[in-house]
Structure formats: structure tokens, C-alpha cells
């Protein structure tokens, strides 16, 4: 990795960390654990569109580690990692299949995968099947917020200065 690419990716990581920090300052949307807009996912989606899955996962890993160090507890690290990487794992082929078109759909699939991954982690951590009753709330919420972040990613991709990665 050359210096230019390293710097660009570091900038993206900073951007996503800033977005994450701004979002955590907002009051929670609903009193359901795991329900949030997921604005930092916009940066992941921009990188999937502009760079490679490798770039996206690098920035995602840096953002999750830093945000856990700066704002969170050890527990939130686990949830973010499971949700974030499952989401990336789903968005990558979807984005490829759609060749970058219909971005909200990619986002929605990612949002759904994120919440499913998080809930699966909660299921393992708490060992209580009762947490699955959040699924009917979290699945549509992930789809909805994903549609929104996908749209944001598409618009941001259009207007952010285009520099080769």
C-alpha cells in the first residue's frame, strides 16, 4: 500500500469515526437495543463503490476499534464487529451484482445483515432465546435505515471529489 492510498483510507476512517461520534450524540431512536441509523455505514458503502472490499473492511475495522476505544465498552466492540462485517460480507456481492446501481437496495441488505449479526451475537452472549423477540423490530428497522444510508452513499459518491484509490 502506497502512502497516498494509506492517507486516503485514513481520511475515510476519520470521516466514518466523526459520523459515528455525531450519531452517538443523538438521542436513541427507540428504546430497543441495537436500533440506530448506522450513518457510519455510509462510508463503508462509499468505499465499496469506489475501492475494493479490502479497503472497506480495513476502514471498517479501524473505525470499530477506535470507536470502542474512545466511546464504548468491550461489549459494544463485539456487537459492532459481528454486525459490521456480516453487513459488509452481504453488501459486497450485492453491490457487485447490481454493479453499483440501485444503491439503496445494497444498503438495505447491509442494514438487515447488520442487525441479524448483532442479534446473533446477543443471542450467544446472553444465551437467552428471548432476545430473538427483537428480530421483528430490528429486521425491518435495518432495512429501513439501510435504504436511507444507501441513498446517502449514492448521493455522497456523486458529489464527493473523485480521486483514484
Amino acid at each position: 500500500m502506497n502512502t497516498k492510498k494509506l492517507t486516503t483510507l485514513a481520511l475515510y476512517a476519520t470521516l466514518s469515526l466523526a459520523v459515528y461520534a455525531a450519531e452517538s450524540a443523538l438521542p436513541p431512536l427507540a428504546p430497543i437495543p441495537g436500533l440506530k441509523l448506522g450513518l457510519a455505514n455510509i462510508v463503508t458503502q462509499i468505499l465499496l463503490r469506489r475501492g475494493s472490499p479490502k479497503d472497506a473492511s480495513l476502514v471498517l475495522a479501524v473505525r470499530i476499534l477506535l470507536s470502542a476505544l474512545l466511546f464504548g465498552q468491550a461489549m459494544s466492540l463485539l456487537y459492532s464487529l459481528a454486525g459490521g462485517f456480516l453487513s459488509l460480507l452481504v453488501m459486497w456481492p450485492v453491490n457487485r451484482l447490481l454493479s453499483g446501481k440501485y444503491a439503496p437496495l445494497t444498503g438495505a441488505m447491509g442494514g438487515l445483515a447488520h442487525n441479524v449479526g448483532q442479534l446473533a451475537t446477543a443471542l450467544i452472549v446472553t444465551a437467552t432465546p428471548g432476545v430473538l423477540s427483537y428480530l421483528p423490530f430490528l429486521a425491518p428497522a435495518g432495512i429501513l435505515t439501510g435504504l436511507f444510508t444507501g441513498l446517502c452513499a449514492q448521493l455522497a459518491d456523486r458529489y464527493l471529489p473523485r480521486r483514484p484509490l
Binding site: P28, P31, I32, P33, Q73, M75, Y79, V94, L97, L98, S99, K101, Y102, L105, A108, M109, L112, A122, V125, T126, A127, T128, G130, V131, S133, Y134, L135, P136, F137, A139, P140, I143
Partner: protein, 136 residues
């Protein structure tokens, strides 16, 4: 041989259909969750172990209980006639307190940092108090 944009469109429609199906299934499930007219039984789980069962429909006066977990974490739970909720906790985000009081089996109260889950299930007094079987 189909053209690429057309193939893409079909993929997009399929994904859209899948997402609508998931949403519809969740909505249907939430609508069908039995509303507990006969009252609820609360089950308190810690680390996946059922540690307490409270018949909420039998509660006359509100009272509080404290659940102590590993590492000294504490959740103070208030039991009211027909509902239950966490009123105080030492977890970092207090999301369990913000969830308020629940009275339906549709949604549990969870404190993820303290690995505490309170789920409700509909009590069925007719089945438990009535005869086991009737034959004619």
C-alpha cells in the same frame, strides 16, 4: 442471452421482493403476537438461566427487587400490577431503564452489559386452573 442492464433490473426486483417479504413477515408476526388479556408471567433470565418467575397478574402492590450479576453489576427491577421494568442499573448505557415498563409478550426488556433479559409470556389461567381433559 439477456442484456446486462436487464439482468441487473431482475436482480434488483428479486432483492426488493425479498426485503418486502421479510418486512411483511415481521409485521404479520407482530400483529399476531397474542395480546395477553388474561395477564402475563414475567421471566427473569441472567446469563441465559431463568432466575425468577413472577405472575404479574397476581401482583397487588408495586415492589422492587435487585438482581446482582457477575462483576458486581446491579439491576433494580420494579414489579407493578401487570407490568415490569428496570428502574435503575449500573450498566454504562442505561438502555434497560429507557425501555420502560413492559406489559406485553411482544418485546422483552434487555440489559446487554449485565446479560439480563426479562421476557413476558401470556398466562393462561383457564388451562392451568381448569380440568386437564373433557370427554363426552
Amino acid at each position: 442471452m439477456r442484456s446486462a442492464p436487464r439482468k441487473r433490473k431482475i436482480t434488483a426486483i428479486l432483492i426488493g421482493l425479498f426485503l418486502s417479504l421479510v418486512t411483511a413477515a415481521c409485521a404479520l408476526y407482530l400483529l399476531s403476537v397474542r395480546t395477553a388479556s388474561s395477564g402475563c408471567i414475567a421471566e427473569i433470565y441472567q446469563n441465559g438461566r431463568l432466575i425468577r418467575t413472577i405472575a404479574l397478574y397476581q401482583v397487588q402492590e408495586p415492589y422492587t427487587i435487585e438482581i446482582h450479576g457477575e462483576g458486581g453489576c446491579v439491576n433494580r427491577i420494579e414489579v407493578r400490577p401487570g407490568s415490569i421494568g428496570v428502574t435503575w442499573a449500573d450498566c454504562p448505557d442505561r438502555l434497560c431503564v429507557r425501555q420502560g415498563f413492559v406489559r406485553s409478550p411482544a418485546i422483552p426488556v434487555t440489559c446487554l452489559p449485565n446479560k439480563l433479559v426479562i421476557t413476558l409470556r401470556a398466562a393462561d389461567p383457564i388451562r392451568s386452573a381448569g380440568p386437564d381433559m373433557i370427554t363426552y
